[in-house]
Symmetry: C2
Subunit: 435 residues, 2 copies
């Protein structure tokens, strides 16, 4: 049987693990595919003999590697958007199927890549781009292909989940929890992509695209990071029976018979009884709600070399099977072409905490402002604020609302900030998972 040739681009944690699996499980993979998988070359920036791969397999000439006649499938694990985009488009143009974990690229260019793959009649698989080892893409595109997905909500970034778990369990502030995450290798030197929610937003775009058969790019995703979360927020969350999680949420919003898609990333209060509340540390989980299936949850390791390599190799075996047995994997489905709902139209519950003057009538003034903007209050608490010597220096009001639009809430908060009685809006957080 003619072997299936594989080129791997990138030899970091994930690439090294993929190469290891190709070696260690060669017989099993061949039996599952019906032909041997043969590694033709590994594209790297630096060729050296300490890379764990025979030097003759290494090349820094990506262009030549992806166009080799004996390469059938290109596995792209280089990371940044460029030169990955160029390499993938070149591979597709040369008739190679592509497996990638590149969420940043996919969330910018999913349409362009999908169209190129369609034109060349090759496969484009990307299970590893969201939630590492956890099968999420395949269940959404295939298992739920006959159902109507209503909502996808996930913890899809391990770095921020580690930081928030740490803040929750130790009372640490954001800076020291981030330092811990860095020391343990859970956060990169420049943590911006993770802590500002860009990574989660890229994944939200991918999930929304496949769940709702609509092209959603990272730019369509509303995004807030976790850098503003304070120990006081975490404490208040606990008092409300909640924990704070950075959520990626993709939702089908139906209003007046018209359907739109909301995709958003932000830290939110999650009730401790919700399945996502118990997902701690570097783990990921995705909850899918569909009309017929009800609520499903997928849980596991969302990052790391070996778990991500598991997802990559699964895709690789599927692409190879298609080469050997004929046929192709699922293609882009974008027929629904739903509009993107702006964040202002999205309804959630909110928690607003503000420092106020400690005098009569403040609570009623604050409550009136919520009412004026038609934001209904579910729960309100007022407590004294003391200084380090225990002297009462003011008061804090915490309001938990019923569901309201983001637009109404924003106007309410702006109006509250103008009130003489309100010294400072300390925190505004959304609450999810209580429906």
């Amino acid at each position: 049987m003619r072997p299936v040739g594989v080129a791997v681009l990138g030899l970091g944690n994930v690439g090294s693990e993929v190469v290891r699996i190709l070696n260690d499980s060669a017989d099993d993979l061949a039996a599952r595919i019906g032909a041997p998988l043969v590694l033709r070359g590994v594209g790297v920036r630096r060729i050296a003999d300490d890379r764990g791969v025979p030097t003759e397999l290494l090349t820094d000439d990506i262009d030549s590697l992806v166009s080799r006649e004996d390469v059938d499938i290109v596995v792209e694990l280089m990371g940044p958007v460029e030169p990955a985009r160029k390499a993938i488009l070149s591979a597709i143009a040369h008739g190679k199927s592509v497996v990638t974990a590149n969420k940043a690229l996919l969330s910018q260019s999913t349409g362009k890549l999908a169209e190129a793959a369609e034109a060349a009649r090759v496969d484009l698989y990307f299970e590893a781009s969201v939630a590492g080892a956890i099968p999420v893409i395949r269940p959404l595109t295939q298992s739920l292909a006959g159902d109507t997905v209503l909502r996808v909500a996930g913890i899809v970034n391990g770095t921020t989940n580690y930081i928030l778990s740490e803040m929750d369990s130790t009372g640490a502030d954001y800076a020291s929890a981030l330092a811990d995450a860095s020391a343990l290798g859970y956060a990169e030197a420049d943590p911006t992509a993770d802590v500002e929610g860009y990574d989660a937003a890229a994944k939200a775009a991918i999930l929304a695209s496949i769940a709702f058969h609509t092209r959603v790019t990272a730019d369509d995703v509303y995004r807030e990071g976790i850098t503003g979360i304070s120990p006081a927020d975490v404490t208040t969350a606990r008092e409300l029976g909640c924990t704070i999680k950075l959520l990626a949420i993709c939702e089908r919003i139906t209003k007046g018979g018209k359907q739109r898609v909301s995709a958003r990333v932000y830290p939110a209060l999650v009730p401790l009884t919700h399945p996502l509340a118990t997902v701690n540390g570097a783990f990921n989980a995705v909850v899918v709600e569909a009309e017929a299936a009800g609520r499903l949850m997928f849980y596991g390791q969302g990052a790391g070399g070996a778990p991500t390599a598991s997802a990559v190799t699964g895709d690789l075996v599927m692409a190879a099977r298609n080469r050997v047995q004929g046929g192709r994997g699922p293609r882009e489905s974008k027929y629904a072409k739903l509009a993107i709902a702006p964040i202002g139209d999205v309804q959630t519950r909110y928690y607003v905490s503000m420092d106020v003057a400690d005098k009569p009538g403040v609570l009623s003034t604050v409550a009136a402002e919520f009412a004026a903007h038609e934001v209904s209050i579910a729960e309100v608490r007022q407590e004294g604020v003391v200084d380090d010597d225990g002297q009462l220096i003011g008061a804090r009001i915490v309001v938990l609302t019923h569901r309201a639009t983001d637009a109404a809430l924003s106007k309410t908060v702006a109006a509250l900030a103008e009130l003489d009685a309100v010294q400072r809006i300390a925190s505004v957080l959304r609450m999810e998972g209580t429906d």
Copy 2:
């Protein structure tokens, strides 16, 4: 575009929901497939106008329906092994792809059905046969196709999980918890298939087959039901920080370089900290442990018309896409041909509870019997047993072992039963999920 013709066999809860989805989501399904899905007929035992389907679509002539020229895919939801087997084989022989949820049939005849599908070059999909709406088959066959699955452990029977959850939360005995389950429609008039573990064993056989690329039938699965679980077992489980769950376990056992498969179903103590411990009521969950992926968990509704119909319709859309776009779904993979390990070779931990004479030396005699069979004791408790009037009438010894083979434990229990000091072996239960 030529439509894809569908025949549905069986119009129970699931069949009715599938027909409803085909109607209500016709436009979406057509867009996803690239051609309309058209219901050609529904095979039933009784034709009547109260079935929610136009009478002209109903037929009791299954043979004619599955061989119709304009039928491309047959969805088998009739239930029992026969006449389902005959109908499926006839459909395949006529070149139809088949979607089925029939676990009993699959676990008896997976090889025969797969071979027929292979010979006819048609698809055979069965996602709905295990854990209802929860994608399990597809993640195992596709997403983990590049990984090495070590273990699959699941709660895959909602009836028994409801009964055990009820016993745990209310202290009810087995008979009254079963009566509750029946009243709520969670248990059938004859609950044998559920409570004796036959249903879970069929699912274990299917899971083991695909996880380990080996044909495993229901007869290969060791099986114990839950009818012997007493309120005292539940109480003791709680005292040990555990709950009792009926587990389906499929495990790769490596010994002396030789690999074998163990597939088994039994009630077991599960630590409350284990993810499966929190799966209550009629829900299902499957935990998969793979070499590279680590531990994954899939959770959701494991039964019911709509959830099961979601899985069936997902398969139906995939089979239809293959018809329209060319190609076929994954086929049976049985290359590994691992031997089945007998239950005697399986290692787990055990909890043994026995009534003993309340006199000196009994504990040491009992402990010596464990030692003689090389079963190591992890924890032991001795307590007094009192009658209804509070009179001390004997003692009970509860032993929790370290991991030991089932064979060694069986010999130990047999030897204990022979001891004069032991009046009665009250309970022997396995403990899982502590590694």
